[in-house]
C-alpha cells in the first residue's frame, strides 16, 4: 500500500515539475549523478537570479558530516551525525519535511576535521544503501525506511578501517554492492549482504568505485591506500594498479574517465596524472601539480577538466585545464574545497564558503551569470541538481534547497 502511495506521490511530483517548465528533469540516484561523472542532463533551470538571490524553498538540519544527496522523484536522502549516532534521512523534496529517518550508534570520528558522516547513500530501484565510516552497512526500503538487512561489515570481516573511516558510497553492479573496503574493494550480495568477494586486508582509500570498461571486461577503479586499482566488479579480480602515494593515504577523489583516458588527482600537494587506458597497466601521459584534488572530484567536459585545486586550508581556486596536456586555461581564486556539477552547458558551483554560482562552461573564462550566498560554514560537499532543485549542505549539516525551476 505504502509503495503504491509513494509512487503516486512521485508521479504527482513529476507532473508538478513539468508544470514548472523544466525542459528536462532527472533523478540523482547515486554519488556524482546518473552517469557518475558530475554531469546532469537537466535543462531549463534558472541561470539568472534576482538581486535577492534564488528562492531557497526550505532549509533543514541533518547533523555533522559531508554526505551528499541522492534523489528519486519527490524524495531526497542524506546522512548526518549527532549525539553519538549517525542518522539516515529521507526528506520530502518540496518541503524538506522528514519522511523517515534511521539512527544507529556511531562515533563522531573528528580526527583533524569536524567529523561526522563522510559517505553518501546510493539508490537502486526501491532500495537505499548506506555504508558508515565504521562499517555499518544498511539496505533500506527507500519508501519507508524499513531495514531489509543490515550488518557491520568491518566487524564481520575484521578488515582494516582507514584513518578517516570508509567513505566511498556503495556502487551497485548487477546483484552486487561494490564497496571501497580493503586493498581493492569488496563485493557484497545486495539482496542478502553476504560477502561474495574481498581483497587483501590493507587500508582502503576514500573514493567511490567508478565503473568503466577496458576491452570487453567490465571494471571498476577504486582509490586504495597506496594506489588506484581496477578490478572486475563481479569477482574482484585485479586488472591493473597504478601506484599513487598521497599523504596519509588519502586517495580520496574518484578518477575522471574520458574515452580511453583516466585522470587521477589527489591533494596534499600531490597533483594529477593522466594515463592511457588502452594499455595495461595504464601508461602515463603526463603528471603535474596543476590540479590537486583533495575532496570533491572535478568534471570533464569536451576535453577540459574543471576542478577544485588545493586542500581544505588553502582556499584554492577552481581551475580549467586541458585534459590532453595538463595545461592550465584559467583559475578562479578562493573557491576552496567546494564542489561543482555541469548541467545544460553550465556550471553549478558551491564554494567551500557557501557561495553558489552559475556560469557557462567555457575553457576561456569563468563568468558567472548568477551568484548567491546560500549557506555559511564549511561546504565541502558538491551540490546536487535534481528536478530543478539544487541541494547544498555544510559540515554542520545545514541544508539549503535552492529552487531553480523556471516557473513563475
Amino acid at each position: 500500500m505504502r509503495d503504491g502511495l509513494g509512487e503516486g506521490l512521485a508521479l504527482l511530483a513529476l507532473l508538478a515539475a513539468g508544470a514548472m517548465q523544466l525542459a528536462h528533469a532527472d533523478d540523482w540516484p547515486q554519488w556524482r549523478g546518473p552517469d557518475r561523472n558530475g554531469i546532469s542532463k537537466e535543462s531549463g533551470w534558472l541561470d539568472h537570479w534576482p538581486d535577492e538571490g534564488p528562492k531557497i524553498t526550505w532549509k533543514a538540519t541533518v547533523g555533522l558530516g559531508f554526505s551528499s544527496f541522492v534523489t528519486k522523484a519527490d524524495r531526497v536522502y542524506t546522512m548526518g551525525h549527532g549525539q553519538d549516532v549517525d542518522t539516515v534521512f529521507c526528506l520530502d523534496t518540496g518541503s524538506g519535511k522528514e519522511i523517515w529517518k534511521h539512527s544507529y550508534p556511531a562515533e563522531l570520528g573528528d580526527k583533524y576535521f569536524p567529523g561526522g558522516t563522510t559517505g553518501s547513500p546510493t539508490l537502486d530501484g526501491n532500495r537505499l544503501y548506506t555504508l558508515s565510516r565504521w562499517g555499518d552497512l544498511f539496505c533500506f526500503e527507500a519508501a519507508n525506511g524499513k531495514i531489509l538487512w543490515s550488518k557491520n561489515i568491518q566487524k564481520e570481516t575484521g578488515i582494516r578501517i582507514p584513518d578517516w573511516g570508509f567513505t566511498g558510497a556503495p556502487f551497485v553492479y548487477k546483484n552486487l554492492l561494490v564497496l571501497n573496503i580493503g586493498d581493492a574493494g569488496m563485493g557484497v550480495d545486495k539482496n542478502t549482504g553476504n560477502v561474495v568477494w574481498k581483497s587483501a586486508n590493507k587500508n582502503a582509500g576514500y573514493s567511490t568505485p567508478l565503473p568503466f570498461s577496458q576491452g570487453t571486461e567490465p571494471l571498476v577503479v577504486i582509490g586504495s591506500g597506496q594506489s588506484y586499482v581496477a578490478v572486475n566488479p563481479e569477482n574482484g579480480k585485479e586488472a591493473w594498479r597504478v601506484r599513487w602515494m598521497t599523504e596519509y593515504g588519502v586517495n580520496g577523489a574518484d578518477p575522471l574517465i574520458s574515452g580511453e583516458k583516466i585522470l587521477i588527482s589527489t591533494g596534499y600537494g600531490k597533483g594529477a596524472g593522466l594515463f592511457e587506458l588502452a594499455q595495461n597497466p595504464p601508461k602515463e601521459i603526463w603528471k603535474s601539480k596543476v590540479l590537486r584534488t583533495q575532496l570533491s572530484p572535478g568534471v570533464i567536459k569536451d576535453g577540459f577538466v574543471y576542478g577544485m585545486d588545493g586542500d581544505t586550508d588553502d582556499d584554492g581556486p577552481l581551475k580549467c585545464i586541458e585534459l590532453q596536456t595538463g595545461k592550465e586555461r584559467w583559475s578562479e581564486p578562493k573557491m576552496g574545497t567546494g564542489g561543482l556539477l555541469i548541467a545544460d552547458g553550465k556550471f553549478i558551483v558551491l564554494s567551500s564558503h557557501g557561495e553558489l554560482s552559475v556560469a557557462p562552461v567555457s575553457p576561456d573564462a569563468f563568468k558567472p551569470t548568477a551568484r548567491a550566498q546560500v549557506l555559511g560554514g564549511k561546504c565541502w560537499t558538491a551540490p546536487v541538481l535534481s528536478n530543478g532543485r539544487v541541494y547544498c549542505r555544510n559540515s554542520r549539516g545545514d541544508i539549503a534547497c535552492v529552487d531553480l525551476r523556471g516557473g513563475k
Binding site: 583533524y112 590493507k202 602515494m245 599523504e247 593515504g249 586542500d311
Partner: protein
C-alpha cells in the same frame, strides 16, 4: 610541533612568510656564506616536512637524505623534495645508517619526543648541526644529556621554539620589557580546546612498510593504534607529555624569555581525565592517557606563573583561547597565536594591538628560525633558541608532569637541576629505556 587546538593542520605548500622586520637581517647579508649544507631529515612526517621546506627555501641546503620508520612516509617525502627543489635524497629506515653513510652537516630531528635525545646526541657526535623539535627531551635527564653533548661537541643546536623569533612575539616582548605593563605579579598561560569522552580505538597491525618496533624505540612497545600515529602520540605519555609538553613549552619559554629568573623554585600541578575518562590500554584497544585538563603553578622568586589547559568546553567566556597573559600594575598583556598580541590597560585607555605575522596554513615562523639557525652556523654564534634556552624551557613542563604524577609539589634546585628532598619524584627525572636502547648519561 604542537598539534592543533581547533583546526586541522596538514602539510601543504606553505605560504610565503610575511615580511619580517628581523633586525639582524642586513648583517646576515653582509657576511653571507655561500656554503651549501648537506642536510638530512629524521622523522619525515607533517612537521618535519614543514621544517624541511624552510631548509629548501633557504637555497643553502642540499637535501641528501631522509629517514623514517614508515617507508610510505619516506616515499612521499622524497617525492616532495624532488618536486620542490630537484634533490633526490636517499631514503633510510634507520637514522643510524643515515648518519654513518651520509655524514650530513645539518640534521633536522622531527620525530616524536621520546626519540629526540638519542638521535640528537648521535647526530652531534657525528659532527652535524642539529635542528631539533621542542620539547628537547621526553624526560629531564634526557634533555640534560643533550645539553652536555652539545656543549662538548660544538656544533650549533637550534630548538624549534619558533615563538622566540615570531614577529608579534618579538614586539610583544619589547613592549613588555619596556615597562609599559607595569610591575608584573602574575602570568597565566593557557590552551583551551574542545573534546569529550574518549572511547578506545581498536588495536591493529601496523600498516605495510612501517617498522612499528622502531617507532616505539626506547619507549614501551604498545600495539599499533591509529590513535597513536600519525600525530596522536602527543597525548600518550609513553611518547609525549600531553598538552603541557606540546603547547606548554612554548608559553613557558615566553616567561623565561621575559624574566631574569632562570627557573622556578617550586612547581605544583594537578589535573586529570575527568571528561575523557580512565585511560585504556589492553589487548583490544587504547585511549590516550594524557590529562584532559591540568593546572600547574610555577613559583618564581618575584611572581607566580600558572599553566592551565582543558580539552573540553570550547567557546568559553575567555577572550582568547591560547597564549600568555602578563598581569601588571598598568594592565594585562596577552600574547597569543593567530590573534597577535593585545594590551588591555587597567584604566580607561585604548587597547593596543598588533597582528600576528605567521606562515600558514600551520601558523608558525619557521622561516625566520631557519634563517637564524644558518646565521648561527655561519658565524659560530648562539642561535635564538639554542640548546641552553630549549633545555631550560623544556624542563618546566617535564617538572609539571612529575608533580602531576606524584600528586605533590616539587621543590626545584635549578642551579643543580635537582628535586629537593623527594627521592621518589627525583627518580622521575629519568626514565627506563627499552633494550637495546640505553638511557643517555647527563
Amino acid at each position: 610541533m604542537e598539534r592543533n587546538i581547533n583546526r586541522r593542520k596538514f602539510l601543504r605548500t606553505t605560504a610565503v612568510a610575511a615580511a619580517s622586520t628581523f633586525a639582524a637581517a642586513p648583517f646576515v647579508r653582509a657576511e653571507e656564506s655561500n656554503h651549501t649544507y648537506r642536510t638530512a631529515l629524521i622523522g619525515s612526517g607533517w612537521w618535519g616536512k614543514n621544517i624541511l621546506k624552510e631548509a629548501m627555501g633557504s637555497k643553502r641546503c642540499k637535501i641528501v637524505a631522509l629517514a623514517d620508520v614508515d617507508s610510505n612516509v619516506l616515499e612521499i617525502a622524497a617525492d616532495q623534495v624532488n618536486d620542490l627543489n630537484g634533490d633526490s635524497p636517499k631514503k633510510y629506515g634507520d637514522f643510524r645508517e643515515l648518519l654513518a653513510k651520509e655524514r650530513p652537516e645539518i640534521v633536522i630531528i622531527a620525530t616524536p619526543d621520546h626519540w629526540h635525545a638519542l638521535i640528537t646526541i648521535q647526530a652531534l657526535k657525528a659532527g652535524a648541526h642539529v635542528f631539533v623539535e621542542k620539547p628537547t627531551g621526553h624526560s629531564v635527564n634526557e634533555s640534560r644529556a643533550m645539553l652536555k653533548t652539545a656543549r662538548e661537541a660544538g656544533p650549533v643546536v637550534q630548538v624549534g621554539l619558533h615563538r622566540r623569533i615570531g614577529p608579534h612575539h618579538v614586539s610583544a616582548m619589547k613592549f613588555l620589557k619596556s615597562g609599559q605593563v607595569g610591575d608584573v605579579g602574575m602570568v597565566r598561560l593557557f590552551a583551551y580546546s574542545g573534546g569529550g569522552k574518549e572511547k578506545p580505538t581498536p588495536n591493529e597491525d601496523a600498516p605495510d612498510g612501517m617498522n612499528w618496533e622502531m617507532w616505539c624505540g626506547p619507549s614501551p612497545l604498545r600495539p599499533f593504534n591509529k590513535k597513536l600515529h600519525p600525530g596522536g602520540w602527543r597525548n600518550f605519555l609513553d611518547y609525549g607529555n600531553g598538552t603541557l609538553g606540546d603547547w606548554g613549552v612554548h608559553w613557558l619559554d615566553q616567561v623565561l624569555w621575559w624574566t631574569e629568573e632562570k627557573y622556578p623554585r617550586r612547581v605544583f600541578c594537578s589535573g586529570g581525565r575527568s571528561v575523557r575518562g580512565e585511560p585504556v590500554n589492553d589487548s583490544r584497544g587504547q585511549t590516550s592517557d594524557a590529562p584532559d585538563h591540568q593546572v600547574a603553578t610555577y613559583e618564581f622568586e618575584n611572581f607566580t606563573c600558572v599553566w592551565e589547559h582543558r580539552q573540553f568546553a570550547e567557546n568559553g567566556p575567555e577572550k582568547h583561547s591560547i597564549g600568555a597573559c602578563f598581569y601588571g600594575t598598568n594592565g594585562t598583556l596577552h600574547i597569543g597565536w593567530r590573534d597577535g598580541w593585545t594590551f588591555y590597560p587597567t584604566h580607561r585607555g585604548q587597547t593596543i594591538h598588533e597582528d600576528s605575522q605567521l606562515q600558514e596554513p600551520d601558523g608558525h615562523n619557521l622561516k625566520l628560525l631557519w634563517t637564524d639557525f644558518l646565521k648561527a652556523i655561519d658565524r659560530r654564534e648562539p642561535p635564538v633558541s639554542g640548546i641552553e634556552i630549549g633545555h631550560r624551557a623544556s624542563v618546566l613542563p617535564l617538572l609539571g608532569m612529575i608533580s602531576w604524577r606524584t600528586g605533590r609539589s616539587i621543590e626545584w634546585n635549578g642551579a643543580k637541576e635537582e628535586i629537593v628532598n623527594d627521592p621518589e619524584a627525583a627518580k622521575l627525572l629519568s626514565a627506563n629505556f627499552r633494550a637495546p636502547w640505553v638511557y643517555p648519561a647527563a
